[in-house]
C-alpha cells in the first residue's frame, strides 16, 4: 500500500510548527501505524533527513505512551485502542493521512509529535492513591470486596493515562482521566478513609493545570482506548458534591 502523509513538524515548544508532506510506499497492510512511521524515519535517516519524533513504548496498547492524532481523531480511527494498535489495513491504498500530536493546552509540545503530559502525573500526586505503608497491610482476605464493586473498580482502573480524553475534548478537559482514578478508589472499601480529601484535591490540581471543564460532549469516551465510561464523570461529580457538602458540614 502507498500513502501520502502530512506530518506535524515542530522543532521545540516555542518554535512554530507546520504540516510537512511525505510519501511512503510498499507498506504491508499488516504493518502497524507506528511501524509505518518507523519506515518513514528509516527512509529519512537513509536520505539525510531528520526523523520525526514521536513517543511510543510498549506498542501493545497498555503503557499509554503513544499519543498521536490521526486524521483529526485521537489514536486514529480504530476505536477502542491506542494508536500503536492501529494497523494499516484500516486505511485504503493511496489515502492521505494527517498526523498531529495530541492538542491540549495543558500538554505542551516537546518536539514534532511528542507532548509533555506531566500534568496528568500531578493530578495523581494530588491524591490519586490510598496511603498504605509497606508493612502495615492486614491479611488480604480480611478486606472483603463484593465482586460487583471489584469489577466496577477494575473497569475504572483500566485507564492507561494516555490523555486522549483531554485531546479529544473541545474543552481540553481531563475529567475522564480524573473520574477513572477517583471512581476506582472510591468503589473500594480501602479507599473510603481518604475519599473526600482525594476528590477535592485532585479536582483542584486538575483546574490548576489548566484543563477545561466537562460539558457532556462524550468525545472522551469515544476515543478512550481503555473503554472508560463517561458515566464515571457523573460519579466524579457526585463524589465532588458529596465531599464539598461534608466538608461544609464540618465532617
Amino acid at each position: 500500500m502507498n500513502f501520502q502523509l502530512r506530518v506535524w513538524r515542530q522543532r521545540d515548544r516555542k518554535a512554530p510548527g507546520k504540516l510537512v508532506d511525505y510519501d511512503v510506499h510498499d507498506i504491508s497492510p499488516n504493518t502497524s501505524f507506528l511501524e509505518m512511521l518507523d519506515i518513514l524515519n528509516e527512509n529519512l535517516i537513509r536520505t539525510g533527513g531528520e526523523p520525526v519524533a514521536f513517543d511510543s513504548d510498549c506498542r501493545e496498547g497498555i503503557c499509554g505512551t503513544c499519543s498521536l492524532t490521526v486524521n483529526g481523531e485521537a489514536h486514529g480511527p480504530d476505536h477502542p485502542g491506542a494508536v500503536c494498535e492501529l494497523y494499516m489495513r484500516k486505511f485504503q491504498d493511496g489515502d492521505t493521512i494527517t498526523v498531529e500530536p495530541f492538542r491540549v493546552g495543558s500538554f505542551p509540545i516537546v518536539k514534532d509529535l511528542a507532548v509533555d503530559r506531566s500534568a496528568l502525573d500531578r493530578i495523581v500526586q494530588a491524591g490519586g492513591f490510598i496511603s498504605a505503608r509497606a508493612g502495615s497491610a492486614p491479611e488480604a482476605n480480611s478486606i472483603l470486596v463484593p465482586k460487583h464493586d471489584a469489577d466496577l473498580a477494575m473497569e475504572a482502573a483500566a485507564c492507561i493515562g494516555c490523555g486522549a480524553c483531554a485531546a479529544a475534548c473541545p474543552n481540553g478537559s481531563a475529567m475522564l482521566f480524573a473520574a477513572a482514578k477517583v471512581s476506582h478508589l472510591s468503589f473500594l472499601p480501602q479507599g473510603a478513609p481518604e475519599r473526600e480529601r482525594r476528590v477535592l484535591r485532585m479536582i483542584q490540581v486538575m483546574d490548576d493545570q489548566g484543563f477545561g471543564n466537562c460539558t457532556n460532549i462524550y468525545e472522551c469516551e469515544a476515543v478512550c482506548p481503555a473503554k472508560i465510561s463517561a458515566s464515571l464523570i457523573a460519579k466524579l461529580n457526585r463524589e465532588y458534591a458529596r465531599a464539598q457538602f461534608r466538608r461544609r458540614l464540618g465532617e
Partner: protein, 640 residues
C-alpha cells in the same frame, strides 16, 4: 579486586534465615535517614516500589526513568498474574511448595535462600497490594479469586483480568506519587542513566542525560539502586517495550559490577507470530490462556495450510498433552517453547512462514460458554484481533515463542548488593531468583518483593556505615565519568555513515535468535562470537545519527542503546558457550536426554557464572559462585 564470590547467605535453617538476618542487620535511625540520599534507576515494579518505600521510610530518594512518566514502565504490560502461597484454595499450597516449584522451574540454577525468601514474602505482597486498592479478581463472596498457571499444580495466582501488571504497577506508581507529593522522592522522567560513578570502590552516583533537552547531569548519592529491567531487546524482536535496554546494567558492568548468567533468556511460548520484516515488537498472549486453550498442530505436514476448523480431531496433534500428560498445556515455558519449535522444524507449523502453532479455545467455549471465556480473556482476544485481523472466538489463535524475560542480570548477594559496595540491583535487572527459567506469575512477585520488602530491609545495613561519606558531584570521579559519556556521544554523532542504528539492531537480533535463541550449539555460538565484533565494527563505521545532542534526539538515544547491545551480545554468547550443559531455557543441543529434554551437568555446572569486565575487546573474566542445595534434591525435571 573481586576475590571469591560470597553470597552472604545467612546461617540457620532455610525457613528462619530471613528473620534471623533481619534481626542482626544494622539499622539507620529516622533522623539519619533524612541525611541519606538514594538513587533508584527505573520506575517499574521493582524501582517504583523501592523508591516509594524508601521515601516513606524517610530517605531522600531520586528516581529516574527514561519514559515520560513512571507509570509507563514495562511492568505495566505483564498480563497473567502474581503468585503467592496463601493456600486460599485449600489445594495443598504452602510457602515450601511455592519455593520448590520456583527452584525446580528454574532447573536448580538459583540460590535456595533467595528463592525461599521470595516465597515467604509473596504473601505480604498480596496484602500490601490489596491495601493499596489493586482491584484483584474476586469471588461472589468478596474473597480473592485465584487461577492456575504454568509449572504448578496448585491454583495460587492472583490476577486483575489480563492486566495484572498494569494494576500492580499503578498501585506502586500511586504510592510513588504520594511520596513525590510529600517531597521525599524526586522524579526524573525522560532521563537516562549513562554511567555509574564509583568513588573509593563504592557506588556513589550516576551520570544522566535528559532525553528531552540533552542536558547532562551528575547525581551523587549514598547508594545506587538499579531497577532498570532486563535485556531481552538484545534480540531486537521481543515482547519488551521499544525502550527497554541494557544500558544501565551494562554501564555498571563496565565499571566493575559482575554480570551473572547472561545466557539465561526466556522464550515465552505464547506470542503472536512474526508477520514481516518491518515488525518492531512481538506481542505476548498471556500464559493464562493455556488454562483453557489447547495447543495443537496438524498431524500431517500436508494439512499445514488447511483451515484449522476443517481438520478433524483425529488428524490433530495436541503435542503438549501427548508428551507431558500430567502438566499438558500448562508445562513450563521453556519446555512448551521448545516443543513448539520442534513441531515447526518438522514442517507442521501453521500460518505464514510455517512458524506457528494453534491455541484453540473451541473446547473451552463448548464447556464454559463464550461469555465466561470473554470475561476471562476478552481483552487478549481483542488485542489478537487488532494485530492479526482474526477472531479467536471462531478460529484458533496462532502463537509462536518469542523472547520475553531475562533471568540473567547483575550478580547480587543475599542483600541484593552487587560486588561493588553500594550498588544494589533489584527486579529483572538482577539474576537472583529464577535460575535458568522463570515460572509464570513470578516476575511481578520478585519485582515487588525486592522493592517493598527486601531492599528496604537490607539497604540500611550498608547505609549505617556510610553516614557523611557522600562525595560532592564535582569530585574527579564524576568529572571523569561525565567526560567519557560526552566523548561517546560525540563519537556516535561523528560517524555520519549511511545506516540507521535500528538496521544494525535488527541484524544483531536475527543473528542471536538463530545462534543463541531457543536452542544453541557450540558451532553456532562460535560463529556468533565471530560475527558480533564484525557487526560492531560496521556499526561504528557506518551508523548515521542525525541531529545533535542538545535536543530530543531519539536517533541518538537509540544508537547509544544499540551500541551497548552490540557489546553485550558478545557477553551473552560467551556465557552460553561456557555453560556446557543444558539448563532450563538454556538448551545446548549437545546436552539432551534421549527424548530431547534439557540435560544438566550438576557435577560441574551447579554454579552461577558471573563475568567481570576486563577492558575493551578483552575476554571477560569468569567467576563462579557454587550453588549449595541444603534442602532440595536435584532431580531431572519431569512434567510428564
Amino acid at each position: 579486586m573481586i576475590g571469591t564470590l560470597d553470597s552472604k547467605t545467612p546461617p540457620g535453617p532455610l525457613d528462619q534465615k530471613w528473620r534471623n538476618h533481619q534481626d542482626h542487620s544494622r539499622l539507620v535511625s529516622p533522623n539519619n535517614r533524612r541525611k541519606l540520599e538514594i538513587i533508584v534507576v527505573g520506575s517499574g515494579l521493582a524501582g517504583g516500589s523501592a523508591a516509594a518505600t524508601l521515601g516513606e521510610l524517610g530517605y531522600r530518594v531520586k528516581c529516574f526513568c527514561f519514559q515520560d512518566s513512571p507509570r509507563r514502565a514495562h511492568s505495566i504490560a505483564a498480563q497473567g498474574g502474581i503468585n503467592a502461597a496463601k493456600n486460599y484454595q485449600n489445594d495443598g499450597d504452602s510457602v515450601y511448595r511455592l519455593f520448590y516449584d520456583t527452584i525446580k522451574g528454574g532447573d536448580f540454577r538459583s540460590r535456595e535462600a533467595n528463592v525461599y525468601r521470595l516465597a515467604e514474602i509473596a504473601n505480604n505482597i498480596i496484602d500490601q497490594c490489596v491495601a493499596q486498592g489493586v482491584p484483584f479478581a474476586r469471588e461472589y463472596s468478596g474473597y480473592l479469586a485465584n487461577r492456575s498457571f504454568g509449572g504448578a499444580q496448585v491454583s495460587r495466582t492472583f490476577y486483575a483480568r489480563g492486566q495484572t501488571g498494569q494494576q500492580l504497577l499503578l498501585g506502586c506508581y500511586q504510592a510513588l506519587c504520594r511520596q513525590v507529593a510529600s517531597g521525599t522522592v524526586k522524579m526524573f522522567p525522560y532521563t537516562e542513566m549513562l554511567d555509574l560513578v564509583i568513588v573509593n570502590g563504592q557506588a556513589k552516583g550516576i551520570v544522566t542525560r535528559s532525553l528531552r533537552s540533552g542536558k547532562m547531569e551528575r547525581h551523587a548519592a549514598d547508594a545506587v539502586v538499579l531497577a532498570s529491567g532486563g535485556y531481552g531487546n538484545v534480540f531486537y524482536l521481543s515482547t519488551n517495550a521499544r525502550g527497554s535496554n541494557v544500558t544501565a546494567t551494562y554501564r555498571a558492568y563496565k565499571r566493575g559490577a559482575l554480570f551473572a548468567n547472561p545466557s539465561f533468556t526466556q522464550i515465552h511460548p505464547t506470542c503472536i507470530p512474526v508477520s514481516g520484516d518491518y515488525q518492531s515488537k512481538l506481542t505476548l498472549m498471556s500464559e493464562s490462556l493455556r488454562n483453557d486453550g489447547r495447543v495443537w498442530v496438524p498431524k500431517r505436514k500436508e494439512d499445514r495450510l488447511t483451515p484449522p476448523n476443517e481438520i478433524p480431531e483425529p488428524d490433530r496433534d495436541y503435542y503438549l498433552e501427548r508428551k507431558y500428560p500430567s502438566f499438558g498445556n500448562l508445562s513450563p515455558r521453556d519446555i512448551s517453547s521448545r516443543a513448539a519449535k520442534e513441531v515447526c522444524d518438522e514442517g507442521r507449523g501453521v500460518g505464514p512462514g510455517g512458524r506457528g502453532v494453534y491455541l484453540d479455545f473451541a473446547d473451552a467455549i463448548k464447556r464454559l460458554g463464550v461469555e465466561t471465556i470473554r470475561e476471562r480473556y476478552g481483552n487478549l482476544f481483542q488485542v489478537y484481533q487488532k494485530i492479526t485481523g482474526e477472531d479467536a472466538y471462531k478460529v484458533p489463535m496462532r502463537i509462536y515463542p518469542a523472547v520475553h524475560y531475562t533471568m540473567g542480570g547483575l550478580w547480587v548477594d543475599y542483600n541484593l548488593m552487587s560486588n561493588v559496595p553500594g550498588l544494589f540491583v533489584i527486579g529483572e535487572a538482577n539474576f537472583s531468583d529464577h535460575g535458568a527459567n522463570r515460572l509464570g506469575a513470578s516476575a511481578l512477585m520478585q519485582g515487588l518483593a525486592d522493592g517493598y520488602f527486601v531492599l528496604p530491609n537490607t539497604l540500611p545495613n550498608y547505609l549505617a556505615g556510610q553516614m557523611g561519606k557522600r562525595p560532592p558531584p564535582d569530585s574527579p570521579e564524576f568529572e571523569q565519568a561525565e567526560q567519557s559519556v560526552r566523548a561517546r556521544i560525540e563519537k556516535l554523532l561523528k560517524v555520519n555513515g549511511t545506516r540507521s542504528a535500528d538496521s544494525f539492531h535488527r541484524e544483531l537480533g536475527l543473528l542471536l535468535w538463530d545462534k543463541c535463541g531457543m536452542s544453541r550449539n557450540e558451532q553456532g555460538l562460535r560463529e556468533a562470537l565471530r560475527k558480533i565484533p564484525e557487526l560492531r565494527r560496521e556499526f561504528w563505521r557506518d551508523v548515521r545519527v542525525p541531529g545533535d545532542e542538545k535536543d530530543y534526539n531519539q536517533s541518538l538515544e537509540r544508537a547509544g542503546r544499540v551500541a551497548d547491545f552490540l557489546e553485550f551480545a558478545e557477553l551473552m554468547c560467551t556465557d552460553a558457550l561456557e555453560r556446557d550443559e543444558s539448563a532450563g531455557a538454556h538448551f545446548r543441543e549437545e546436552h539432551q536426554t534421549p527424548d530431547g529434554e534439557a540435560l544438566r551437568n550438576d557435577e560441574t555446572h551447579a554454579a552461577v557464572f558471573a563475568w567481570e569486565f576486563e577492558g575493551e575487546n578483552q575476554s571477560p573474566k569468569l567467576h563462579r559462585e557454587q550453588l549449595h542445595f541444603e534442602t532440595v534434591h536435584l532431580t531431572q525435571r519431569s512434567y510428564k
